[in-house]
């Protein structure tokens, strides 16, 4: 059987084997390493990876730098916290509703914000998230105030179960975003990042496209937030703080902005760094931004860009693989 060569130098067979190996490794991992804390860190990395993927869609692929992405994560988490306490809804429906709540919020926030461009858009989204953060403190009857909402029953009891479920959510998000971005619909998102005016000249309704993209991104963030709430059995105002947005942004920048696997790699490296550098006490807070600054200086395309360059160099002896470079 012959497989079609793809753009980055691998082939379909190579990718299929790689994917199966990865899935196999994920499946057997808890049996090989029974360390519960390690599995907990993997679950947290998966949640951050989903959040990073959602930010990457809107910022990396559409070029809209959203400083308030945490509000979509928070919408999912708080909705679950409130509904579970008030109505004891079933977790699968809850996770779906968490995503839908974030979509609704994205429409409320997105329609006025999407009239703005560049830094104005970024600041407006930051402003909206700050409003929601303040509301989460100011409405204790609904949000639990500073304490948040506690005592939410776990959706899945075992760490292993959560490990598999978090991977399921991450892989579903990754698969859906991969299909989306390879479709003609997804190409419109990329065209907006490339040149919004030209996209309009090409016949694309850029406003509608941006609203759709923000809604999809919000759905992924909302689902991650809802699952986070079940996993942690609580939700606090921290989930609407800019700290979470910056964690997602850092994962994307570190892993590779505008790539599909980069944010996942970034989320893993940074989550593990954060968890396993506790012995450094507060100094670890210096390591984190330092690593990101070094990455921005020496490899702006992130770890994934570095890896891709290395693979291409091995395959072709040409890091960029571009035709013009081949001519040179």
């Amino acid at each position: 059987m012959r497989f079609k060569k793809d753009k980055i130098g691998g082939n379909m067979a190579f990718r299929l084997v790689g994917l199966l190996l990865l899935l196999g490794l994920i499946a057997v991992f808890p049996y090989l390493f029974a360390d519960q804390y390690f599995l907990h860190v993997v679950i947290m990395a998966n949640i951050i990876a989903m959040f990073a993927l959602s930010w990457n869609l809107i910022s990396g692929y559409m070029g809209l730098v959203n400083f308030g992405q945490c509000m979509f994560f928070g919408a999912g988490a708080y909705l679950i916290g409130f509904l579970t306490k008030a109505y004891n809804i079933s977790p699968p429906i809850g996770i779906l509703l968490g995503g839908l709540a974030a979509v609704l919020l994205s429409l409320i926030v997105g329609i006025p914000c999407l009239r703005l461009r560049g830094a104005y858009y970024s600041i407006a989204t930051l402003g909206f998230s700050q409003v929601l953060f303040t509301l989460s403190l100011a409405l204790p009857k609904i949000t639990g105030g500073e304490e948040g909402i506690h005592g939410i029953p776990k959706f899945i009891q075992s760490v292993e179960g959560n490990y598999y479920f978090s991977f399921l959510l991450l892989l579903l998000s990754l698969g859906a975003l991969t299909l989306l971005l390879r479709s003609r619909f997804g190409k419109r998102f990329i065209s907006i990042r490339e040149d919004e005016r030209l996209s309009e000249a090409a016949g694309i309704d850029t406003s509608r496209c941006k609203i759709n993209g923000t809604a999809i991104s919000a759905f992924v963030a909302g689902v991650a937030g809802a699952y986070f709430c079940y996993y942690q059995t609580q939700v606090t105002p921290d989930v609407i703080s800019e700290g979470l947005t910056f964690s997602g942004m850092a994962a994307v920048v570190f892993g590779g902005l505008g790539t599909l696997f980069g944010p996942i790699l970034g989320a893993y490296v940074l989550t593990f760094l954060d968890e396993y550098l506790y012995f450094l006490m507060d100094y670890r807070l210096i390591v984190y931004p330092l690593v990101i600054m070094l990455m921005l200086i020496f490899s702006p395309s992130g770890i994934f860009g570095l890896l891709r360059g290395w693979i291409k160099e091995r395959a072709y002896g040409n890091p960029s693989g571009s035709e013009s470079n081949k001519k040179l």
């Binding site: 753009k7 003609r184 190409k187 419109r188 990329i190 065209s191 490339e194 040149d195 005016r197 030209l198 996209s199 309009e200 000249a201 090409a202 016949g203 694309i204 309704d205 850029t206 571009s322 035709e323 013009s324």
Partner: protein, 246 residues
């Protein structure tokens, strides 16, 4: 048959009147050249017709609808496409994807097979069929111009507005683009070409509109326009001024 009627079109930027009370008609199958010295308001006219600028007053009647002030994507869907003075493409997308994005923006439910076949036809038409997988940022200047035209064609227009389509090209490259423009017109597409290089417009236009300081100076066939004293004055200055400079 008149398909585009521009009436009393006016647009100012602060105190500068870029286009003033402009009126002209375009008939189906025409190639209309819009010429004039730098700052005459030619590109502003293109921006007004394509929806990139809103007029202060006046109407742009396109097939029984006044499209003045419409959003650019709606105007594209109505059958008017454009190119830009500085060639604009999606640089990190392949040549193929550049066309697909535009092709499927209007025809959303086109099957993958139909879309692929149409993209390849368009690329062949402009002579970029061998460059379909190349990233747009790696194209040469003349190829960028062809890609822009291909992108405009892919939206299925009846009228294409070409803003300085041979700017920055060598005479050989210009001829290649001019051939594409002629082929486009032969296939039934109406064209408005903005250009300040007279030679190019004389070669392809059926009719010329000369602008100066935002106003229409003269309208007529290339022969009439080339001999018009007002046009000569607008391009080369008054005889007394020339003498004063020498």
């Amino acid at each position: 048959m008149v398909i585009l009627q521009v009436r009393n079109l006016t647009r100012s930027f602060s105190r500068l009147v870029a286009v003033s009370d402009l009126c002209f008609d375009v008939s189906k199958g025409d190639i209309v050249g819009l010429m004039g010295p730098n700052g005459a308001g030619k590109t502003t006219v293109i921006n007004l017709i394509s929806g990139f600028l809103k007029p202060d007053s006046g109407t742009i009647q396109w097939q029984d609808e006044n499209i003045a002030g419409w959003k650019p994507f709606r105007i594209v869907h109505k059958g008017i496409a454009r190119t830009f003075q500085q060639a604009r493409v999606f640089p990190k997308m392949s040549v193929y994807d550049n066309i697909t994005v535009s092709l499927t923006a209007k025809r959303r439910f086109l099957s993958v097979a139909d879309s692929e076949s149409k993209v390849l036809d368009i690329l062949e038409f402009v002579g970029l069929d061998r460059r379909s997988s190349t990233l747009a940022r790696e194209l040469h200047q003349d190829e960028l111009r062809k890609l822009e035209i291909a992108r405009a064609i892919s939206s299925g227009p009846e009228l294409i507005l070409l803003d300085e389509p041979v700017s920055g090209l060598t005479p050989e490259e210009s001829d290649s683009v001019i051939n594409i423009i002629k082929k486009l017109n032969q296939s039934g597409i109406t064209l408005i070409i903005v250009e300040h290089v007279m030679r190019m417009l004389m070669k392809v236009s059926h009719r010329l509109i000369v602008m100066n300081s935002g106003m229409k100076l003269v309208e007529g066939s290339p022969e009439e326009v080339s001999q018009n004293p007002q046009v000569i004055e607008a391009y080369f200055g008054k005889e007394e001024e020339k003498l004063a400079h020498t």
